[in-house]
Symmetry: C2
Subunit: 364 residues, 2 copies
């Protein structure tokens, strides 16, 4: 195959499949009347972000100030940092960045709000803030609508920040297996969001932005009041999101698998065991086990930091040769991408150039 020229392990991006995924989600959002603000934590690449924006996205989401810096440097003009930013260094960096681009972030505590506002005043900027609502995820955010209203009032009264609405993301519903079960999870999330919206309406506070939803839940959240969707993984897909299932009980196939790791068979100690040159430092394990797409009948397992082990699940499955290159679908794309310095970019199925994973390792 034409991938033979790539040394391994390599993170490979199929530009054509990615382009179709970008177009498809953009069209869905347009028809639903919801803005699309894809999450750049997935790809960490301004080159990908620019293609999403060219297709209609209003900007991107980031989780870290360092990711936002990379996106602004790469030409992205509108960013929501979907995470509470805490610490003097980081709020100062975020405020400075607001001199170069439209920056919003989220808050869930008066102390965080005040520190951010002070940094913005010092930098001579105003940042839009969304109050983060906890819709049942149990991570950050405010679970009590009255407390969310109170924090919004404080934001409205505070110089340096501008209250722009709510963040309402529920990560745990994204990977619920089964269409009906996932729909039920999303509807519970939507019902909780309705409580927050009612509390804000009763207080007479407008929420011009309500931002949330992900690749596993967006189809169930079009009429819940969201003004923008934060979906990230749709751009590449991964095994976890394929496994959530669609309405027919098949794998979730709205989007194509546009990303894989190319690995080499480095040892075949027996007819039942194949060792690949890709372990925990090449493929993340937080989302479960990757899958060898070129070799059905073999199950992927890890053999440590530098080794993947395929074990025979089907006696008739093909036995590859030492040196053969195989495509592996990551279980979790985001954390796998973050292990790599570069994407090897395919066009027409052929290698073209390398793109940096520009925000890789930007954890601050």
């Amino acid at each position: 195959m034409s991938l033979e020229i790539l040394d391994t392990p390599a993170l490979v991006l199929d530009l054509d499949a990615m382009g179709r995924n970008i177009a498809k989600m953009a069209e869905f959002a347009r028809k639903a009347g919801v803005a699309l603000r894809p999450h750049a934590k997935t790809h960490k690449s301004p080159a990908v972000a620019r293609r999403q924006i060219a297709a209609g996205a209003v900007g991107v989401c980031c989780q870290k100030v360092g990711e936002a810096e990379v996106m602004v440097e790469g030409g992205v003009a509108d960013i929501l940092v979907t995470n509470e930013i805490v610490g003097a260094t980081k709020v100062a960096r975020l405020a400075g960045l607001a001199r170069l681009a439209t920056i919003r972030t989220v808050v869930d505590h008066p102390d965080g709000l005040d520190a951010l506002a002070a940094a913005c005043v010092a930098a001579g900027v105003e940042i839009g803030v969304l109050v983060e609502c906890d819709l049942g995820m149990g991570r950050c955010g405010i679970a009590d609508p009255a407390a969310a209203v109170a924090l919004a009032k404080r934001a409205i009264a505070t110089k340096g920040v501008r209250f722009d609405g709510l963040q309402a993301y529920h990560g745990k519903i994204q990977h619920i297996a089964g269409w009906a079960q996932r729909r039920a999870g999303a509807e519970a999330c939507n019902a909780k969001l309705a409580e927050f919206r009612a509390a804000f309406a009763a207080a007479g506070i407008a929420t011009p932005i309500i931002s949330g939803a992900g690749t596993g839940s967006y189809e169930f959240q079009t009429t819940a009041g969201y003004t923008e969707f934060q979906c990230g993984t749709y751009v590449f897909m991964d095994k976890q999101y394929r496994d959530v299932g669609d309405e027919t009980g098949e794998r979730y196939g709205r989007f194509e698998q546009a990303l894989f790791v190319l690995a080499t068979v480095m040892s075949i100690p027996s007819n039942d065991r194949i060792v690949l040159d890709c372990g925990y430092k090449t493929l993340s394990v937080d989302g479960g086990m990757p899958e060898a797409m070129d070799l059905p009948g073999w199950n992927f397992g890890f053999g440590g930091d530098e080794h993947g082990i395929l074990r025979r699940a089907d006696a008739t499955a093909r036995l590859p040769k030492i040196g053969e290159k195989l495509r592996i679908v990551p279980a979790h794309g985001d954390t796998t991408i973050n292990l790599h310095d570069e994407y090897q970019v395919l066009s027409g199925g052929k290698p073209t150039m390398a793109w940096p994973v520009a925000a890789r390792g930007k954890i601050r």
Copy 2:
């Protein structure tokens, strides 16, 4: 504390504790009459490797050609690549590297041996090879002593390579919990190695190097015939290796915890839940859950790629403040280090400078 000036999350290295660990293992190896060749896959840092060599190590181990390149560039003159190197690009790079340093690697198949030998002939170098024995780990390597002898004979007869002995590493015994159980695992490994040594003796083939052992097993393998130990994690330690236990049933404490991640409390949604700014992209999960060393009575769990969540396990445990910085011990050091660009280096407990994780991401 003096760590307050460090922005988070940060990978922090206590140089004093590391120095004591290096000295202690060097002394153990010297007394045991076994050479020490620490594994650089752990630290990926020539600065650490040079300190190990200054204390008596004969060189380092690497898993990848890219790691070996970084080590040679950083001044390391003697490297064993403890992994089968497969693929035309990589064997050519390895052969080229042998023009600049003493390079050895391992083989477990005639095809791999022949390809490596051809690359060495083309580069005008000779590389020492160790035949990798599978002592029960079930990853790479040859499980049958007669087949190992046959491959050694082929190496002896092949230009470009020099048969130097055996690699005999058993990764699965490293983390067996309980001293007696781990000793039993190591002794089974030693017994299997004895079968290989007997087969080589019977064939009249000398094995000047027998390389293996790790931080969890080295104490049980001093008289098994090893000429060099490959221990890596002892230099920093991690939660996994502390948890294997010593002979008294306590945590394994031969070496000090010299590495941690500094994280910031970014949200406290309730008195039972603390959210930290460190998720899967900051701390690896392949070795289980990290541990908050400054906050007993709280259990660490992940809240996704960018969040760690501490849950109260003890009603009387201290509740920190938003913005407070906490030290987290990684469950698995090697894969956590590989997520970071830099070590923040402490001397006398105080921040001094940053060291690059120079071989981070060198997966080829």
